[in-house]
Point group: C2
Chain length 223, copies 2
């Protein structure tokens, strides 16, 4: 006998958004702006990681940031101190961004003169994974305190990302987090993903992450 | 001049769900089953907190648990070991539960003989806050590593909860988490909320949380 019953509820499909996202991606490619869609749970360290990333790369490329949030301006306020172009997107309660929303953000930010535009998506491991934003690549942050079982529980997010940063690696000894087991779970869902352990707090791993971004931006600009 | 532009996107309203949730709440009241809707970010410790809670209360009341997840069975598997009735709800990619889904879960769980039914909602601070599940009370867990700024960023969730557990209090010294500032931010949004710092790992604060639940279940059964 099974230990518990499993009840299936329902799901959705989004076709128009995918087409719009492809169009947007082609336009970004033409104008040589690399758009990174950065996703994670609330509190995994997206904004702190962005601060570190901007500090390393801002003298070698033109960077702009779109901060999506339900209705606060906390993150844009932090990023504005780095000196790069930043815009706060208020989603008015929406739990994710689709390509239409990302496009509104890109237009408001004014991205034609940017090499690297970063969209900090709403903190959420579910909905953002379902919507193609038109980004060149998808990045995700999982932080150590969230637990190494997250790939089992939010598989779509782990499947659709090109790079996974495992953040707060500096506190790993205080949590039961098996890095190897976590990496194996992720690779099973997504064999081609690049996994980079980092600490946005101490700076550990940020160089490797910056190298990944540099290579991607360079490749995006090649025909 | 403002430091950055603020762009408003869009929002939704859900009316029928509220009516259905009220009907469900009345039925639960009649049959004397208290339904707790437990919400949080991914990885804040919902399942571990439930294990602790069940251990303390299972000999004094009849408990049943509904574990909602995108498609894994990890949590129901853990809860089944406590010996209480448990069911896994697969949301098929859905990011939240509404009252219709909670009702399907309650019927499948068989809740007529339960004093306390607990719905572990999908790990998400956005969407679950927008949908009344028909629960008697709403509980939320915020964990220390997520940061003390979360009430500013996910205000609706903090506004709609009756009780807030601040979990992983055992690791507070390794994070920049200002408990007092966090509590003030929460109280500003929701003056009547009960805030209980806990550690599901060490057991700290669990007695106070169990007392809160006991009092609520008792009150629900009074006419």
């Amino acid at each position: 006998m099974e230990k518990f019953r499993v009840l299936e509820i329902k799901k959705s499909v989004f076709e128009d958004n995918d087409r719009e996202a492809d169009t947007m991606r082609r336009e970004l490619k033409k104008q040589k702006t690399f758009l990174l869609n950065l996703m994670s749970s609330p509190g995994s360290g997206k904004t702190t990681t962005l601060q570190r990333t901007i500090d390393v790369l801002k003298n070698e490329m033109r960077i702009g940031v779109m901060e999506a949030d339900i209705d606060s301006d906390v993150d844009a306020d932090i990023i504005s101190k780095t000196g790069v172009k930043v815009i706060q997107l208020h989603t008015g309660g929406m739990c994710h961004l689709d390509s239409g929303m990302a496009k509104q953000g890109m237009e408001a930010l004014g991205c034609k003169d940017l090499d690297l535009a970063i969209l900090e998506n709403v903190g959420n491991l579910v909905c953002p994974a379902e919507f193609d934003t038109g980004a060149s690549k998808n990045a995700m942050i999982l932080s150590v305190p969230e637990g190494d079982d997250k790939p089992l529980k939010y598989p779509l997010m782990f499947r659709i990302v090109d790079v996974l940063l495992i953040n707060k690696i500096d506190v790993i000894e205080y949590f039961e987090f098996d890095l190897k087991a976590c990496e194996e779970r992720v690779k099973k869902l997504n064999p081609n993903v690049t996994i980079i352990p980092i600490s946005a707090k101490t700076g550990e791993g940020i160089d490797r992450w910056a190298d990944w971004l540099r290579a991607e931006v360079k490749q995006w600009n090649e025909i």
